[in-house]
Amino acid sequence: MAKYLLLKHYRGGPTPICDLPIDEWAPGEFDDHVRFMGEFAARLQASGEFVDAQALAPTGTFVRSGDDGAPIVDGPFAETKDLIAGWMVIDVDTEARAHELAAELSSAPGPGGEPIHEWLEVRPFLSGPPEHGGDDHTACLTAD
């Protein structure tokens, strides 16, 4: 099993297929879109593949430590180049399954009830240390 992050970008991915901004959709279309996402999450729950789903507020601030250790805040920025809207985390048997689920989520309905074919970024999690590793011997020298 491996965990994957399905990352939803508002901006920053490849050119979107559906270029009508979401605030210009008909209210019913928006509701259908949201309902689809909820049903998708419920299907993942039922298949035993769901780990987490979160949405993010669009504006954030940048923070770093100053010389005295106190936080220095820059922003908030609303117009960053890459805007992450939210994510889902899934736990699946294969990468192919992760792609299949991403494609399913990407086909959420948009204007006219048509699938928006939204680009989703799929990122594998780095797992914990392999306790023994089926490939233990590889590693005779490199890692064991």
Binding site: M1, K3, Q45, A46, S47, G48, E49, F50, V51, D52, D91, V92, D93, P124, L126, S127, G128, P129, P130, E131, H132, G133, G134, D135, D136, H137, T138, A139, C140, L141, T142, A143, D144
Partner: protein, 381 residues
């Protein structure tokens, strides 16, 4: 009560309920419920824990059967049955293993179901070990039971599929409050008692030999310690001796298989008092044996490492050239061999690339440290 003793009651109770005519899925749920209640015993278990678990599970099963109106007739039938006198056989135990390792299940489902029904873990413990929400794990298990209710009975697993499931559990290691490697060893011991197959003994030996080196594999911060730098005084000599004895008895039966061959390689490592005492020539020979049973790119990659030790880095690189370069750790092995061959600039680049390609954090950190080390050697000239 010792948690392991309690876990052993779980498959027993499931078999008793199934013997009494309960369907596997409901029986398994009922026993899980009884197990969760039993965990509250603390230091004062009932006089006969086995009878307690069976009785509570049976009651819970009847409740569940009662709540399903369609089962009313069956309920009457169950109530009329005498509740005791059921002794499951060895064959039942093996069947339970086979059912949970049905090839109709995905690997993750087979693992989860085996841990719950054969291993006696709670859903929460399994969820914590695999870092998923408890509700997700519960769904995965009920789905698995639905799958075997339809397809698994016609397609039960066999000793091979059970071994694969146990090896997957073993490799998962440790997170949450259950040591899955130790749990896999316990279940493989059981399987070795039930099934007279030298490969099962080979798998048990392999697990013991790997597990014996666990304490030396990471430092106190969780960083990987490569074999060459491991403190061999921290190896568990008792486990090594047990693993070697089990392996030798298995090899004596002259039915070699992949697990015995892998265990033989692990035994040769365990046998070396110092890393320079490692018998790499014999390790290469065992890899050649292993290729007869499991000719996979990963086996060939491992073999290339051994060849590099036995015959020098150039020979290792030649062996590596025949392995597809998309195998995990290929770049790490290439980096290591080029470093030994003296090409530090290439090695540093490959270590950094190996870090990018690592699939777990400890290995990524390890490869980054290697890259930094070689870069430092380079700049020191």
């Amino acid at each position: 009560m010792d948690p392991v003793e309690l876990r052993e009651l779980v498959p027993h109770a499931i078999r008793v309920l199934v013997r009494r005519g309960a369907d596997f899925a409901t029986a398994e749920d009922a026993v899980q419920e009884a197990l969760v209640k039993a965990l509250a015993w603390g230091d004062s278990p009932p006089e006969d824990p086995t009878a307690w678990v069976v009785t509570v599970a049976w009651r819970s099963f009847l409740d569940q059967a009662r709540s399903t109106s369609a089962r009313r007739d069956r309920e009457a039938r169950y109530d009329a049955r005498p509740p005791a006198g059921d002794v499951p056989s060895t064959d039942d135990s093996l069947q339970l293993h086979f059912l949970c390792a049905s090839p109709a299940l995905t690997p993750s489902s087979a693992v989860a179901l085996t841990l719950r029904a054969v291993g006696g873990l709670t859903t929460r413990q399994i969820a914590e070990a695999y870092l998923v929400p408890e509700a997700t794990m519960a769904q995965r298990i009920s789905r698995a039971k639905r799958t075997i209710a339809t397809a698994g009975v016609e397609r039960p697993g066999d000793v091979r599929t059970v071994m694969r499931v146990l090896y997957l559990i073993f490799n998962e290691g440790y997170s949450g409050d259950v040591d899955l490697a130790a749990e896999a060893i316990r279940l493989t011991r059981q399987l070795a008692d039930l099934a007279d197959d030298p490969e099962v003994h080979g798998l048990l030996a392999l697990m013991l030999l790997h597990h014996a080196r666990r304490a030396s594999r990471t430092d106190e911060h969780g960083a990987i310690v490569p074999l060459v730098a491991q403190d061999r005084s921290r190896w568990d000599t008792e486990r090594i001796a047990e693993g070697v004895a089990i392996l030798q008895a298995a090899l004596g039966r002259d039915q070699l298989g992949e697990y015995q061959a892998q265990a033989a390689i692990a035994a040769l490592h365990a046998d070396a008092v110092r890393v320079e005492d490692t018998d790499w020539v014999q390790i290469v020979e065992w890899y050649d044996e292993l290729l007869r049973f499991a000719d996979t790119p990963i086996t060939r990659l491992n073999r290339a490492v051994a060849v590099g030790q036995a015959d020098g880095p150039r020979a290792g690189l030649a062996a590596l050239a025949e392995v597809p370069d998309d195998v995990p750790r290929w770049t790490a092995v290439a980096a290591h061999l080029h470093e030994r061959d003296g090409d530090l600039a290439l090695a540093a680049r490959l270590y950094a690339e190996a870090a990018d390609r690592a699939t777990n954090q400890a290995e990524r950190d390890h490869q980054l440290r290697q890259a930094a080390r070689v870069n430092q050697r380079l700049s020191a000239g």
